[in-house]
């Protein structure tokens, strides 16, 4: 079962947070940011849901909590209304600089979202391009990692898994390509999009191809573990519980 409120957090910290990485990895997205005349702080304010700001500048995109420093704001009356923005492109209610807000949403944001969708829901033809394949896989991993944290803190079943994760950092990554750190503190998970310095647990996929095959369900986790293509060590109970949340991510992002 998918909980609408938890889905809103997945959309915020899993999907939209990946715009940060998109604006680094994709040249078109980067160009859109560099074309901005002035920095934009676009706040999404969801009643009974996430409140966060996507800060766009020539340097790229950065997500921050809350509405501090936002230049535009869009309110959503419920998590479902926010989810409708992602699923059906239905905007919320602009409450700060309304005209600029609508305009930005319809132009810049819309273009970036379109590029992101192309990577996260790729066509077979696009995936034949090795460069696209690699970026798509990396962006998918960022989305998944964000969704893991979002669900750990908001989905009732995932909260059970999170309650069994001891404090510490879990390093997840694709060897020599990308790393993220899932930080567990008092059963609350947060994400840092960089390699952990002192992880208590490590889970690493040895190639981009393997990571993609695991994300798309075309590879067997067990077979790859046994072949030594998935590298794990440390407090494996932390990884076990993250993997249980990962099962929930698949339900939410299906």
């Amino acid at each position: 079962m998918v909980d609408v409120r938890a889905m809103a957090f997945v959309n915020a910290y899993g999907v939209l947070a990946t715009l940060e990485n998109l604006c680094e990895l994709d040249s078109d997205a980067k160009a859109i940011c560099q074309g901005l005349k002035e920095p934009v702080g676009f706040c999404f304010d969801v009643i009974n849901g996430p409140v966060f700001t996507l800060n766009f500048s020539k340097d790229g995109c950065k997500l921050t909590e809350g509405d501090l420093g936002c230049t535009m704001k869009m309110n959503f009356i419920s998590p479902k209304a926010f989810n409708d923005l992602i699923d059906k492109s239905k905007p919320g209610i602009p409450t700060k600089n309304p005209i600029k807000t609508i305009l930005f949403l319809a132009t810049t944001f819309s273009k970036l979202a379109e590029i992101l969708t192309r990577y996260l829901r790729p066509s077979e033809a696009d995936m034949k391009n090795p460069e696209f394949f690699e970026k798509s896989t990396m962006l998918t991993m960022y989305t998944i990692a964000g969704a893991i944290c979002a669900l750990a803190n908001n989905d009732e079943i995932s909260k059970i898994s999170a309650s069994y994760i001891i404090d510490g950092d879990i390093s997840m990554g694709i060897t020599d390509k990308m790393y993220v750190t899932v930080k567990a503190r008092n059963s609350i998970l947060s994400l840092e999009k960089k390699k952990a310095e002192n992880p208590r647990a490590v889970m690493e996929f040895t190639s981009i191809e393997l990571a993609n095959a695991l994300f798309t369900g075309t590879a067997s986790t067990m077979a790859e573990l046994c072949a030594g293509n998935i590298y794990m060590r440390g407090m494996i109970n932390m990884i076990d519980n993250v993997n249980r949340i990962l099962d929930r991510v698949a339900v939410y992002l299906a």
Partner: protein, 424 residues
Amino acid sequence: MSKFPEYKHDKSKEWFDRALAAIPSGVYGHLGPSEGLFLPITKWPLLGDRAEGTYFWDVDGNKYIDYMCAYGPNVLGYNDKDVDAAAAAQRKLGDCTTTPSYKMVECAEKLKDVVDIADWAFFMKNGNDATTFSVMCARAHTGKKKMILFRGYYHGASQWTQKADYPGVLPEEVANNIVVPWFDIQALQEAYDSCNGDIAGLIAQPYDHGNFFDNVTATKEQWAAVRKWCDKHGVVLIIDDVRCGFRLDLAGSDHYYGFKADLICFCKALANGYNMSAVCGQEHMKNAASSVTFTGSYWMSAVPFAACIACLDKLEKINAPALFKEKGTKLTEGLIAAGKRHGFDLIASGEPALFYLRIANDDSLMLHQEWVAECVSRGVFITSHHNHFINAALTDEDINLTIEIAEDAFSVVAERHPDLGLTK
């Protein structure tokens, strides 16, 4: 330079590839590389060939001193001649038959004789059967719904024993489990009050022998307080002695900790590897046990009953719990000293008969996993996450060899990490 050369596992790999093609996960569950945490998998034997005493040999012909004992069932030593002779004699007479053998009655009488609280015994095959039956008995006896479990519990693999976030488990299937911290009487009371007293039973292992952390033994006072609370509220107290049973105390681990359970579950050490489990109970639980519908195709097979009687006879004869304590203590003290000589802070916790090991130099178990892998790949089979098991066939020579190999493994890990300055 390592004194003990590393084993190779080429045939293990070949067999495991065949297993993967024919069996989900190849080797699933606690004996497999995933739940068994074979890190890295190349250091571990994956399929076995034979076993004898305290040793087993893998398909590559490598020999291991076994401190997992098939995760408990090997209590007297693999292929114990007395147990095997009793089983072989019974096999000639009959095993899985329409009318159960009188051996079942003898076996129940033996358990009544050995186990402190046993006024009766009921038989099944696995630990999970025993815990599930006990929970059903508690509900049948009280007419109540919910069960209390202590945090970090493990009572088998049925849906009710898992958690709502496990694959294939519905929240409804675990909705009647209430989890509280170990020995927290206030939490027990709050759990009771939160469901208006609709508590059928409390099921717990004798002490907290969970995975990935130092095991925490119990005290008689803690159990006395729990027993008192259960009596006050009419809650059936079930001891899941599947793992510890007959290794701490032949009369039951409740007896070891100075209290009386209403029901006690046995499996692993019951018949030295012959497949059976049992629930023993006090008289007041007998009608409930009779009322519960619970049976299986092989549950009254006679060969395991014969093996069980012979096994319990021998455990009594050699005073096995005292032996296990002595050997476990000697082994762990030796391992700790060997670790110290190379700068490792090895901690042994839990009861010596079921010792748990952890290198505490880091908080991630990574050094510990390295050391365990080096031990395994040199012939000492231990795990990095789970408690271990002593069996009666383990000799002082085996213990000395274990310590020697473990010391070699310590030196290998220390040399691999010169930055840590471990080797003294």
